[in-house]
């Protein structure tokens, strides 16, 4: 609607020309071009590590480019830091950015230069009023006085989003804002974004969820290896074209064929009660991919954490094959029994960012790389090499710090670490969060291979198509309880959603 009526004389709201940026020998950006019109939602797409987040940080002055130029309304600008960019109306919600846990929701929303003040004194009434306005725009009922750290992850994301809205930005950049949201919140978010666009805000939208892009965006730019491949109107493009441009070859099938699960029981869960989880019982079979769905906060993550020994439960039993797990769990014991968890928050739970790939992989495999308390460098390097090869981890070598890898490759490190344990039951919490389509397909294939090899995979996902596509069987949770179970082959979005809202059983 607004994509075509911009005349060529009107300067672009934001333009990036031939940006180069390298880190320690990695060329993150090699001549990127991006131009965003006033009043459009512009999708920025690309594989993990394509350089999207780096470009965002160059635009907002966090990184200084090696060369290249940023133009705002046709004028060349240089931002020394985030504050200067914000004052010029450019505001970003960063990929890894979250909230400040120890201060209130209201203050989180009105942070920094947004804090209303007179002579250095905070105007609390004004602050609360304006914070409330932002939450209202997003349809969020979050108490302003709560400490942000007490909110659920979803609410935290919404608070961070409210903060971005509060700045009244003219150029708003969102780096994977929906990665941890579910459909309800996404709908509210999109409504706000459309309204902003109609008010003339230029929005850059980075996402790996391509359906969203086609639903929301006006134009798209695809990046690959730090370069711009194509910029196009969304209406003139389609998913296949986007994928092939992103990965540089024709798109294959996203989800592999389902396998044939055995009837041999691999995991039995009986009467499990935790903080949120209530009376959960189910079984999973050898070679089966069991998907778990549900709304945010429905207790899926807690269930996996309990199974993995990472969280206490009050009652219930977990049995792997024939062997019952001890009632006071620990991750070590669960691992020994053959249960491994790929957690939900990669950066804070999955990998040690400051440690090398091989140290990360070794960490979960201490028993197998050591004898009599002494670790063997050779064994570590063997399992690391195998993991990096099997999962095609792109890195300079086993000694590279995980913090320097792209999100997708970080996720593969987490997987490699747990797969080296050869688990009987692999628990995966949002296994493809923030991961590009190419890598997603790889991970689905991997899940299938594991299942075919006899592993039981239990995967939590918030994306219904993914849940259906990768699973053999699906369990849906609602407020801590199992509200429905269905064979994936016969499942559809509508049915799953009714279970999600706990309406049928």
């Amino acid at each position: 609607m607004s994509a075509t009526n911009a005349s060529t004389e009107v300067p672009m709201a934001l333009e990036a020309r031939d940006i180069f940026k390298h880190f320690d020998g990695v060329h993150a950006l090699s001549g990127v071009k991006l131009s965003v019109k006033t009043g459009e939602i512009h999708a920025l797409l690309g594989e993990n590590g394509a350089g999207k987040s780096t470009l965002v940080k160059v635009i907002t002055g966090i990184y200084t480019p090696d060369s290249g130029e940023i133009l705002r309304n046709g004028e060349s600008v240089e931002f020394a830091n985030v504050r200067v960019a914000n004052r010029a109306g450019i505001v970003a919600l960063y990929q890894e950015l979250s909230i400040i846990p120890s201060i209130s929701v209201a203050e989180n929303i009105m942070l920094g230069e947004q804090t209303p003040s007179k002579g250095g004194i905070v105007q609390w009434a004004e602050l609360r009023k304006r914070a409330q306005e932002q939450l209202d725009r997003l349809n969020q009922k979050i108490p302003l006085n709560r400490l942000a750290g007490e909110l659920s992850p979803v609410q935290q994301t919404m608070v961070a989003f409210a903060r971005a809205l509060a700045t009244d930005a003219r150029v708003l950049i969102l780096d994977e804002p929906t990665a941890s949201l579910t459909d309800t919140e996404i709908k509210d978010l999109f409504a706000v974004l459309r309204k902003l666009r109609d008010q003339g805000v230029a929005i850059i939208y980075v996402s790996h969820r391509l359906e969203e892009v086609f639903e929301l965006c006006d134009r798209l730019t695809i990046m690959r290896n730090g370069e711009t491949i194509i910029t196009k109107d969304v209406q003139e493009s389609n998913i296949e074209e986007v994928i092939s441009n992103m990965v540089g070859r024709a798109a294959g099938q996203l989800y592999p064929e389902r396998g044939t699960a055995t009837t041999e029981v691999a995991l039995t869960v009986e009467g499990l009660n935790g903080r949120r989880v209530k009376n959960v019982s189910f079984t999973a079979h050898k070679g089966e991919v069991l998907g778990i769905g549900g709304l945010a906060g429905s207790g899926r993550s807690e269930l996996l954490r309990i199974l993995a020994g990472a969280q206490k439960h009050s009652t219930g039993t977990v049995t792997v094959g024939e062997e019952a797990l001890p009632s006071s769990p620990s991750v070590g014991k669960a691992l020994d029994a053959g249960i491994a968890l790929v957690p939900e928050e990669r950066r804070s739970q999955g990998v040690i960012l400051s440690a090398s790939i091989q140290d990360n992989i070794a960490l979960a495999n201490i028993p197998s790389v050591s004898s009599l308390g002494i670790v063997s460098g050779v064994k570590i390097s063997t399992i690391t090499k195998r993991g990096m090869l099997d999962l095609q981890i792109k890195a300079r070598g086993p000694h590279q710090n995980v913090g320097e890898l792209s999100g997708g490759n970080q996720q593969k490190v987490v997987l490699a670490k747990m797969l080296a344990r050869k688990p009987k039951v692999l628990l995966m919490d949002e296994p493809t969060r923030g991961i590009d389509v190419g890598t997603k397909a790889e991970i689905y294939r991997l899940i299938r291979e594991l299942a075919a090899g006899g592993t039981t995979v239990i995967a939590v996902s918030s994306e219904l198509p993914e849940l259906i596509g990768m699973s053999d069987r699906i369990i849906i949770m609602h407020e801590g309880q199992i509200s429905g179970e269905v064979e994936a082959a016969v499942a559809d979005d509508e049915l799953l959603l009714t279970y999600c809202y706990g309406k049928a059983n």
Binding site: N86, I100, I121, Q311
Partner: protein, 322 residues
Amino acid sequence: MTTTNAPARAGQAIGRMLLQGGTVVALLLLIIFFFAMRPDIFLTFVNVKNILYQVSILAIIAGAQTVVMVVGDFDLSVGATSSLAGAVAGAQMIGGAPIWQAISVALLVGLIVGLVNGVLIAYLNLTAFVATLATMTSVVGFAFLVTEGTTLFNFPAEFNELGQGKFLNIPIPVYFALVISVIIWAVLKFTTIGRSWHAIGGNVEVSRLSGVNVRRARLLAFTVAGLVSAIGGILLAARLGSASAVQGSDNMMFSVAAVFLGMTVIKSGMANLGGTMIGVGIIGVMSNGLNILGVNAYIQQVVTGIIIILAVTLSGLKTRER
């Protein structure tokens, strides 16, 4: 992260409050204990005044420490800075300078030390621990140079009056401690810089990316800490009527301990002025009470450590989950 089912909510709430306020409970227990042991003395006006007098300077320096710890840092140099400020003021007065000038120069010295800390930490990215450890070392050296290693004394009576005088039968340093605490509390609570400090203490990176001027705010925090420590040091010199290079050096450890004790008081677990004052109270009551009971100095020291552990453990229980 405690959640339960509907029943027994009230009982649990009280339980939580007790744990939450573990440090407050610890203070109350201490008071009750010492009162029970010596009801004739402990809560008399004279003794309470005494306790207040004894902790007033620690309270000021712990206030300075609170500011820095709200930002998520440490300042190991507060004690040394206060000694240096006292020494500088003393040396000035002995050299014949008028009182106002002596005090101004001493405050300036504190400000400069704080500024140096701030620059090192906020702009040169040194860890607070190393930077303030290093400045502490240098500052003690300066204090030795200023005092030539001796104890300076013989200050004008009007100066000593600042530390030894009374108003309404309450020693003047108590008022100073009160006023400075209230100011720091208000700055932390009501000003934009105070809120920035809290934000930075919560998460530096998020604050920076959200447009908080992190460097300036940290610089300011350390500068304030230096200045306030100097006030404490000047008052200590006036209070004792003398100044030496090492006087009040244990204020550093105790100020950090007080802030840590106080951090357990509030839910977010951050440094906060109210909590710090409770921490200061625990330290003051403990030392006064043990003295009143006539406990042997060595055993006092053993007991002091144990009481600190008990106080913190009491409130630590609440976060033991997981």
